[in-house]
Symmetry: C2
Subunit: 393 residues, 2 copies
């Protein structure tokens, strides 16, 4: 593979393929491949490279590129700085459209996703943007300052990338300037990196919900995969073990009435399903900023109401089934009551767990379900076996 | 609220808020609001409107708008036709850049997301595209035909919107032409509708996985929510009931050894977690078109390998715990063996269920987990209680 295509190939392949390719390249080849990449692209690769190779790459760059690369490397994943690139075209606000057009003709071709020129004053402070589609339809003699949009969506490099993505969606942006704290244009964000970010984040979330890491795909080795998936299984085994001890505490009751062992998974299961519905809805609302102190109370009352309606309905159905199955009306009553109570527990846990995770600065979309299942299983077993012990034995 | 803003408001609010707003408007108000919307925007609203109001809106449009609206209404959600709009700017390939620029100056402003002009022959057949950023830097005397990109990504209106979204990502597009089967330009797709589509789909999938409908949000009523969530709970109750009957078949064994009731949820639970990991990974690979007949066999062997590694590890750990807890080495052995077997079942189910859903034309991301949990619960109970009955009693 020729080194001028190596860089692009490394950028496009999946994480596990990239690891394999990099393992086959020596430092010099990697540095050579990096020569054909922009600073923001090198920064995307950097986490997968040994530190000394990154250092070699930095030293191989010219002064301007080096400054951009160091800037791009300094921002963590999930920040605007990690999405931005440096292909900015800016013009001064005191020139005519004719001059702006003549300036543009000096480029062979404008950078991809240039839908607007960033308009700056003599100190590079952002004054506004001039959409190309407006420049194209304007009289060449008009001054740029009279055409620009001054209400510009711009970002600081350490802003949250998710908020930038939401701004791109809300305002239908194609590109937006990134400015320093004193308002100078330093880079830009374009819709293609935003779309990649939205997709990657979505994928990472879906994988993380099942305890998988982004790096694993169907091409990873058995050993690597087993290692990746182990911690999640271990965590779930711990919670299952605690729930098992709840059942263990009622072994005396189960010996007397083995039907309890057959029915208890139903009570625990419905709690898990209903709680998951509540928490999924809440996680979405949190992501959309729909949850405030004023409607949290209303939400609480609403989810409680739903659990009562569903609990009465499905509790009665399963209660009657249990009664008929075991010809034991008291068992049916305990079943119905336990399902109602566990659905209420599930609704509360489905609200409380994501809110608590958000409060402690963690992503409520990831990991909520482990805690939720833990609560609904343990409490489901406890409520059902406890009621049975009190009323049936 | 003034009618010229009504339309935009209806487009921007959430589904359940829109329902409330529409319920307060009479037909004439809705028709008036629609006057300020483009055909593609009206088509987005149409599913929420009564049929006769849609008919009134169609009749209120002029001939060209009416044709566009009927075209937009005829494509189902999830197709390119549902994403496209009609703000196409096309030019002939036999004119000079000077003529093209003069044509553009006749617009007050070009439509949003116009990053390229669609270049057509005299019969409106697509010949290529001319990026604005190239037009801007070109000599005005050059003929358009010499500047255009002839390798153009274009879509048929009934193509899959997800495939269009992947093309937008892969080729970093901002806009792309939609053509009829005979190659005429009829509309365009822009990155903003693609981004909305990706987000909406992601949200709909996350909600559907928990048995929620897109229409429900935290502002829906208790009754509406309970009704939405009921069918999912009922489906899960049915599968839980079947699993419960598996346990019921072993009630005699549980009466003799109540420890089985305490340990069985662990065996079922680890199967559910591991199977979910396998199916999540496979669903992602299916979405990325990474799964082919040739690597399906390798994937099968790999997942089987992981289940053996994890089964030996965690089966031993939990087997020893069960042995120590109940001072019963045979019980520990049964526990370990059951966990290994159920992890193998889980790996197979985690591969088979999404593949079967894909084969039958259903979205494997949605609903796989219900079937998977059903298999891992029922088989987990059956394997563990069956082995215990054979070897311990």
């Amino acid at each position: 593979m020729r080194s001028d295509r190596d860089g692009d190939i490394l950028l496009e392949v999946s994480d596990s393929v990239r690891e394999t390719l990099l393992a086959d390249m020596d430092s010099a080849e990697i540095v050579a491949a990096a020569q054909n990449l922009d600073a923001d692209e090198i920064a995307d690769l950097a986490p997968d490279l040994p530190d000394e190779v990154v250092q070699d790459i930095i030293e191989s760059q010219d002064v301007e590129e080096r400054a951009q690369l160091q800037s791009a490397l300094s921002y963590p994943e999930g920040s605007v700085g990690a999405l931005m690139d440096f292909e900015v075209i800016s013009i001064r606000d005191d020139v005519s459209c004719e001059v702006a057009l003549r300036y543009l003709r000096r480029f062979d071709e404008l950078p991809g996703h240039t839908d607007a020129l960033f308009v700056v004053d003599r100190d590079d402070h952002l004054r506004g943007i001039l959409p190309l589609k407006r420049l194209l339809v304007s009289d060449p003699d008009v001054e740029v300052a009279t055409l620009i949009d001054r209400e510009v969506v711009s970002f600081l490099p350490d802003a949250d990338a998710e908020e930038a993505a939401q701004a791109f969606e809300r305002y239908d942006l194609v590109s937006a300037p990134v400015v320093s704290t004193d308002g100078r244009v330093i880079a830009r964000v374009t819709i293609d990196s935003v779309l990649d970010f939205v997709r990657d984040r979505q994928e990472a979330q879906q994988l993380a919900q099942a305890g998988l890491r982004e790096e694993e795909d169907i091409f990873s080795s058995v050993f690597q995969s087993a290692k990746n998936r182990g911690p999640w299984l271990a965590l779930n085994l711990c919670t299952a073990f605690v729930a098992s001890r709840v059942v263990g505490a009622f072994e005396g009751s189960i010996e007397k009435l083995a039907a309890l062992a057959a029915l208890m998974p139903i009570v625990a299961g419905i709690g898990g399903n209903a709680g998951n519905q509540t928490s999924t809805l809440l996680v979405r609302s949190l992501a959309l900023d729909q949850v405030s102190a004023s409607n949290a109370r209303r939400l609480f009352v609403k989810e409680l109401g739903i659990s009562v309606v569903n609990g009465a309905l499905w509790g009665s159905v399963l209660g009657i089934v249990a009664w008929l199955l075991y010809s034991n009306v008291a068992l049916g009553g305990v079943m119905a009551l336990a399902m109602m109570l566990n659905l209420t527990v599930a609704a509360m846990a489905g609200l409380f767990i994501p809110l608590a995770m958000e409060r402690f600065g963690r992503d409520p979309a990831i990991g909520s379900s482990v805690f939720l299942t833990f609560v609904t299983d343990s409490m489901g077993f406890f409520i059902f076996l406890g009621l049975a012990t009190v009323f049936l034995l």
